[in-house]
Amino acid sequence: MKEHMTIISNRQIAKGIYELTLASSLVQRMHTPGQFVHVKVATFAPLLRRPLSLCDINHEAGECTIVYRAEGTGTTLLSQKQPGETLDVLGPLGNGFPLSALSSGQRALLVGGGIGVPPLYELAKQLVKNGVCVTIVLGFQTKDVVFYEERFASFGKTYVATADGSYGMKGFVTDVIEHHALSFDVLYACGPKPMLKALQQQFPHKELYLSLEERMGCGVGACFACVCRVPHSETAYKKVCSDGPVFRAGEVVL
């Protein structure tokens, strides 16, 4: 569950966006897209681990890939790590996207916003392997931070939108879905909470799986840092780290 993984590569793929490839036997325990790893970026500071989603799992090579945005102390430090160095990684943690929701020939719509895009990559890969037809909608702030468009395109029709219109369609992912009248059996999404809320409102009667983010302590379900409310209850809760991060729409209050 906890290992020192070796950094194979750590490179910038868009403005402030990095792709980190790690190797160790821990990879053999990684199976489900949407699961995350809890990464200790430095020995002393910062103190806490950082939750980062699995973006690609490659059992044959014994490698996994994480795509992250360097923004705060931890992720900026991470972006300075060199190949050959090791990282203390706890995981895989949490419950990922349910693949069994779809069988061969059915249609999945994958919707990613910003740094919520990475976990959809492994998801697309596994769905396609199961014979599911995949359509992908990616939303970004601006042209400079767009990543993985071609990689997703190898799995299915891929649409890109930017909030400022500098690339692809101008607008939000919900605009793309409406504009192209995209239909699906199951929708999988990861991104900022306003995006998840908008999707939930757009498709109140469909089967949606949403991946949530919350500030974490332990990452394993022990500290109650990452809870969210359950509808119609004063005291019921779910923990994002151990019950999620993926929930069925309606299961928790966004």
């Binding site: 569950m1 906890k2 200790k40 002393f44 500071a45 910062p46 103190l47 806490l48 681990r49 706890l90 919350e214 500030r215 974490m216 302590g217 332990c218 990452g219 394993v220 379900g221 022990a222 500290c223 109650f224 840092a225 990452c226 809870v227 969210c228 409310r229 004063e234 005291t235 809760y237 151990s242």
Partner: protein, 312 residues
């Protein structure tokens, strides 16, 4: 001879290492990492009479060498803890210290009466950092008379020894400890978290939804050590020390300050294996220091090597 075994009121510990309350849930999550029977004891999450949801999120914020938390005593309530959590923990050979909390003296008394009768609960830990709703929300743990009254009331009904967990958010920790000792407590645990806050530079808003939270982790270790050093010389109660412990060296430092056992909290979030690792590292460290038994360390920084507290 087990050189790590420690005897305290109500507690025969195979070693003096235990997870601190609120950082280990009810043990289920860490049982996936190792056999909980290796632990000296377990301090379970604060239990209240009714289930509590706690505070809105964000509930945690990072600080240099520490973290703030404002969980808000989320717990399933005493009925569920008695029916589900404690029976589940009974499969392990480890004494449980039940951390209890409340908004009124009556609530503490009710929880204490019931939880202290559970077969694997060997001691209570009174979390007195909670606001007293009948006294304008001032924490029980900030006024010595109030803390003493609460201690007395709980002592009267508890079937097991009562340890009181001191809040560091006071001007005179020694006066507080003395008042609690006189009220009949069997031991002290210290320290709880220090009140603090952080503000987001971009939004100018507090990071924690609750605005303020409790500071824990290595950042508070020097404060915990100073307080244990002062209190252990002023009272004759055994002390379970906590605050930023991460290693066997830290444990020895807490013993030297005056602790007879220790608890580890925040360090679990950094390394789930911290407790078994510290237990493993202690014997070789004692060898290196030329110490036979860990109890010899208690109070060494001020007592010139005499053992101050030799068990119940």
């Amino acid at each position: 001879m087990n050189r790590l075994a420690v005897e305290l009121p109500g507690l025969s510990l195979k070693n003096p290492i235990m997870p601190a309350s609120g950082c280990f849930g009810f043990g289920r999550e860490y049982a996936k990492f190792y056999d909980l029977s290796v632990l000296g004891a377990i301090m379970i999450k604060a239990t209240t009479l009714e289930a509590r949801f706690g505070n809105p999120t964000p509930r945690v914020a990072e600080t240099p060498s520490g973290m703030l938390n404002a969980i808000g005593l989320q717990n399933p309530g005493i009925d569920k803890v008695l029916a589900e959590e404690l029976p589940w923990l009974a499969q392990y050979d480890v004494p449980i210290i039940a951390n209890i909390a409340g908004s009124t003296v009556e609530e503490y008394v009710e929880v204490a009466k019931r939880i202290s009768k559970a077969p694997n609960v060997h001691a209570l830990e009174l979390n007195i950092s909670c606001p007293n709703v009948k006294k304008g929300g001032i924490a029980f743990g900030t006024v010595p008379e109030v803390a003493a009254e609460l201690t007395r009331a709980v002592k009267e009904v508890s079937a097991v020894p009562v340890y009181v967990k001191l809040s560091p958010n006071v001007t005179n920790i020694v006066a507080m400890a003395k008042a609690i000792e006189q009220a009949g407590a069997d031991g002290l645990t210290m320290i709880n978290t220090l009140l603090g806050m952080r503000i987001d530079v971009k939004t100018a808003k507090p990071i924690l939804a609750n605005v303020t939270g409790g500071l824990s982790g290595p950042a508070i270790k020097p404060i915990a050590l100073r307080m244990i050093y002062e209190v252990s010389q002023a009272v004759s109660l055994p002390i379970i020390g906590m605050g930023g412990i991460q290693s066997a060296e830290d444990v020895i430092e807490f013993f030297y300050a005056g602790a007879s056992a220790v608890a580890i909290g925040t360090a679990h979030f950094i390394d789930p294996y911290v407790c078994p690792n510290v237990i493993r590292d202690l014997p070789p460290l004692l060898d290196e220091l030329g110490i036979q038994h860990i109890s010899e360390c208690t109070g060494r920084s001020w007592n010139n090597g005499q053992t101050v507290y030799c068990g119940a």
